[in-house]
Amino acid sequence: METHLHYEISQFLYKEAYLLDHRQYLDWLELLTEDIKYVMPLRVTVDNKTKSNFISEMSYFTDTKEDITMKVERLYTKSAWVDNPAPRQRHFISNVMIEPTIIADEYKVRSYFLFKRSRASEINTEELFGEREDIIRRENGEWKIAQRTVYPDQAVLTVMNISMFL
């Protein structure tokens, strides 16, 4: 059972990455619950190693399903220049760890990510990396993402913008 669950959820995350990398954003939206919280706080550098080095007061985004849907719709307009030409992107997802929560059919899922992007004929590639903490839920037999917190490992991001979904 444990192994099977791990396999199922990992496959779900890989499929999600595939949809994103292939710009199938409308299909990707289907993987998100209506009440999703999708957040990326700022990584900061603090003196005390034991304290959190994220701040909750400021983030790069704190999106609801409505916010995400609008971002997706915008990418499908004729004049979202950041996506024209469309950059090539890859999400590498690894180190998947699953824990049950107190709610049946809901799991806390941690994964590592490495995001790479190549834009037009640009030789230098951009990257972002870090960790994600998700709440993944089974709704009517389908896996859905109910919450995602993206923890970047950099205090100064080395991407020109965050037009991608992580």
Partner: protein
Amino acid sequence: MKAEELQQIKEKVEEGYLPQWVVTDPEIYKLEQERIFGTTWLFLGHESELNEPGSYITRMMADDPILLMKNKTGEIKAFLNSCTHRGTRLCTVDFGKKKTHTCPYHGWSYNLDGELIGIVAGNKVYGEKMDKSEWGLRPVPRVESYQGMIFGNLDHNAVSLEEYLGEMKWYFDIMLGRSDGGMEVRGLPQRWVAKANWKMTSENFAADPYHVQTTHRSAVEMKLTPTDPLYASFGHQVVLSNGHGINVITSATGKSANKYQGMPESMWPMFEKNLNNEQLGIFSRVTTFVGGVFPNLSFLSSCSGSEGTKHNHLQFRVWRPIGPDKVEIWVWYMIDKALPEDYKEKSYKGFLATFGAAGTFEQDDTENWARIIEASQGRMSRDRKLNYNNVANYLMGLDNLEPDENFPGPGTAYPSCYTDHIARSMHKYWLELIMEETRG
């Protein structure tokens, strides 16, 4: 850099052109480091970021790491963030609170006034002749603030910050001094790196509402902004002293559908108390303030949300040059302390959705900044003799726009924001500085 090359730029700038090679030229970049970033007032942070004695933040002035600390008497001091013993970077974190800063290399420690207070094995290794008072942290030569905005200057002989800001103070008063208790920075600035030249990003904010209707066309397609291609032109572009400038954008009617940028009515009596009639007049009609303090501080005060429930947000940003073709972007989100929490939260969300690294408006800006770099590095665009006449066009409004004498604010106000008056003024000031020998 040859004198005749600078002279040639000067002639072009006066005619409303900018030779494209100056955008990314390494020699120009060196001159800028010395003569612009070494002599002008650079933004370091806001007083609300340093709450109590011992609070500290670390910042950058171009390539110099800076440590700002609040001392026991509540004064904010700024130092080169470098141990005076062997030059080690003293503090490597973004913010915090402590009474002393100790260097990890040999253990020299400094108090909140930057004084050297501890040397490991002191007299035993240095004898009696070492005078600690000579080895305090190197202070930033000038640190001054206006409306809570802290600036530093590496030039001892610089004019005062207030004199440098000049006419901009009047507009800063509207954005920063309108409500009781002033503004507060939320959290820390967002930071990321873009492929861009600092002059072009500064110009984008200070001088260029013309880009809005094309670069941000997706917002029109999404029905978030008006379809009229002139919608960002209404209002005044105001040229201020020392290369500063502000666009006071209104609407086709000269008014805003959201009085006082959509701030709640409970705040209005405060505005009426803290601002004069001319300032109130402008603030009540403006939809967007967007502008810049030369060289690399930009600001944007706008509204987000659906019509009728728009929420104002204010951001300041620094374009820290890290090369001719790269900037580290720092974005501070600020909000009136006196606003209700609920409003603050909605405003913050509006900010994140539009500007900041993940904002939908921002994303398309970064694309254009990168494309300028990509097309400004080759032989043709770097042609200093201008055989190909390779100049960028800054002719808009040059011969066909006269200042509006009735505009109530200081500065020279042109009755449209689609004009290159601020850009030309920035280039002139930029050139004046890079042609000047460094002062003693």
